[in-house]
């Protein structure tokens, strides 16, 4: 999963810092920009291209209908509201993807945000995709450890170089080892190749 970025727009310093600190505690999520108002919102969205925007709808000028105040992001998919709005304007909250209430507990906010970030993982009760490397990946790892290039491996296994690269990416993600020498050590420790075969 790629790193997910957020912009948080909220005037209250206390509320903003609270939300920011919770988001930054979520794995792979981070706040790239904090805003006190929406003056620069559209240029900041262009600048940072965030995955999500957390916004207090009260920042939308009262004189304008919120429907006309254009935020260049999809409200119902990408924008989360912080609810401290007056009862008169509560109706507008339904157009947001999710609403964080001021009285929400830490766990509730975590749950809401996680559900948005990765609906599948949250639904399957946080079960993680297997970290075991597959037989195919083992074969490729063995060749990598023996010092073969991607191209050589592709030819040997009748795969496209692109496929080999994709496999290598998965191997690195699963094992937490990035370099060829590191992968070689793993291969020897797990008896995929012999010490003497190490170049």
């Amino acid at each position: 999963m790629e790193r997910l970025t957020f912009i948080v727009a909220e005037k209250s310093y206390l509320i903003r810092k609270g939300i920011v600190s919770i988001i930054n505690r979520i794995e792979k999520a981070s706040v790239v920009k904090e805003l006190e108002n929406l003056d620069q919102i559209n240029s900041e969205i262009l600048n940072y291209n965030p995955d999500f925007l957390v916004v207090n709808p009260n920042l939308i000028p009262k004189t304008e209908d919120y429907r006309n105040f254009e935020i260049k992001m999809n409200l119902s998919e990408k924008v989360i509201a912080i609810s401290s709005v007056s009862p008169l304007r509560r109706g507008m909250l339904s157009s947001f993807r999710e609403v964080i209430e001021l009285h929400d507990s830490k766990e509730e906010i975590f749950r809401k945000l996680k559900l948005i970030i990765d609906p599948e993982i949250s639904q399957s009760n946080g079960s993680i995709i297997s970290a075991e490397i597959s037989e195919r990946e083992k074969t490729i790892l063995t060749h990598v450890a023996k010092g073969l290039t991607n191209k050589e491996i592709a030819e040997k296994l009748f795969l496209s170089a692109h496929t080999v690269i994709a496999h290598r990416k998965n191997i690195t993600n699963k094992l937490g080892i990035k370099t060829i020498s590191g992968l070689t050590i793993y291969a020897v420790l797990n008896n995929l190749i012999k010490m003497e075969e190490v170049r």
């Binding site: 094992l175 937490g176 080892i177 990035k178 370099t179 020498s181 590191g182 070689t184 050590i185 793993y186 020897v188 420790l189 797990n190 010490m195 190490v198």
Partner: protein, 245 residues
């Protein structure tokens, strides 16, 4: 809590002992007595603002600089980077190396996995030395050159030629990631190496690897976020200046 000129240097260390190697880089000795940060910096002829910014950003990832780090002279930044380099080469790497040699000494039988780790660390050391040499021999003289031309407002044909043949952006692109092997080494020890006989030794190695990684990250940040943009800006102005003439 942020470090400010008026707090006592001794308190700075009490609050953040991880700053000890940073203080050494500024050639500051222990035995502060009750002197403040400001007084100590004056005693040791250290740029106070630079010290404040470096130490605060070292201990706090969310630190908001009071003074733009890129307002400091390139020379000051380069001197600090060099001090950090010698900390790695003269202290940390030999220390880690001796730990890793010790690992193979304690396992009586010839042990393949330890041998592999030893080779791996050797490769890492070579990589780091090469990386540092390139910076000190090529990049640092170049950026100092640029700063000199910039402050004297001399956009000579010579300097323009230099910029065109090797600009700071070329360095940024080449700036290889020396952290990768370090990351692997940590994971190999944590996840894959058979349990080590000397637990205390393994713990020490890991602690040192984590500390070194933190320091390297701070070091890279100073290069990538401060030095490179600052020099790129000067290059741009020098080139424009030259065109206009």
């Amino acid at each position: 809590m942020n470090i400010t000129p008026d707090i006592k240097m001794a308190d700075v260390i009490h609050l953040n002992y991880s700053l000890l190697p940073v203080i050494t880089r500024f050639n500051i000795d222990l035995g502060f007595g009750d002197k403040t940060v400001k007084e100590i910096c004056k005693d040791y002829d250290v740029n106070l603002d630079f010290f404040i910014e470096i130490t605060n950003s070292y201990i706090d990832d969310d630190y908001i600089p009071q003074k733009e780090l890129n307002s400091f002279p390139v020379k000051l930044i380069v001197d600090y980077l060099k001090k950090t380099h010698s900390y790695y080469l003269d202290e940390k790497i030999p220390e880690l190396n001796s730990f890793i040699v010790e690992l193979s000494v304690i396992s009586e039988v010839k042990n393949d996995s330890i041998q592999l780790v030893q080779n791996f660390f050797g490769e890492y050391r070579e990589e780091l030395i090469h990386h540092i040499e390139r910076e000190e021999n090529k990049v640092h003289p170049y950026v100092l050159n640029i700063e000199e031309a910039f402050t004297q407002n001399k956009a000579s044909a010579d300097i323009v030629k230099k910029i065109k043949s090797y600009s700071i952006n070329d360095f940024a692109i080449e700036h290889d990631n020396v952290e990768e092997k370090l990351y692997d080494l940590k994971n190999i020890i944590i996840k894959y190496l058979p349990p080590c006989k000397d637990k205390a030794l393994c713990t020490r190695i890991l602690m040192e690897l984590f500390r070194l990684e933190k320091d390297l990250n701070a070091h890279a940040l100073l290069e990538d976020k401060v030095l490179i943009p600052k020099v790129a800006k000067m290059e741009e102005l020098l080139l424009n200046n030259f065109m206009e003439r």
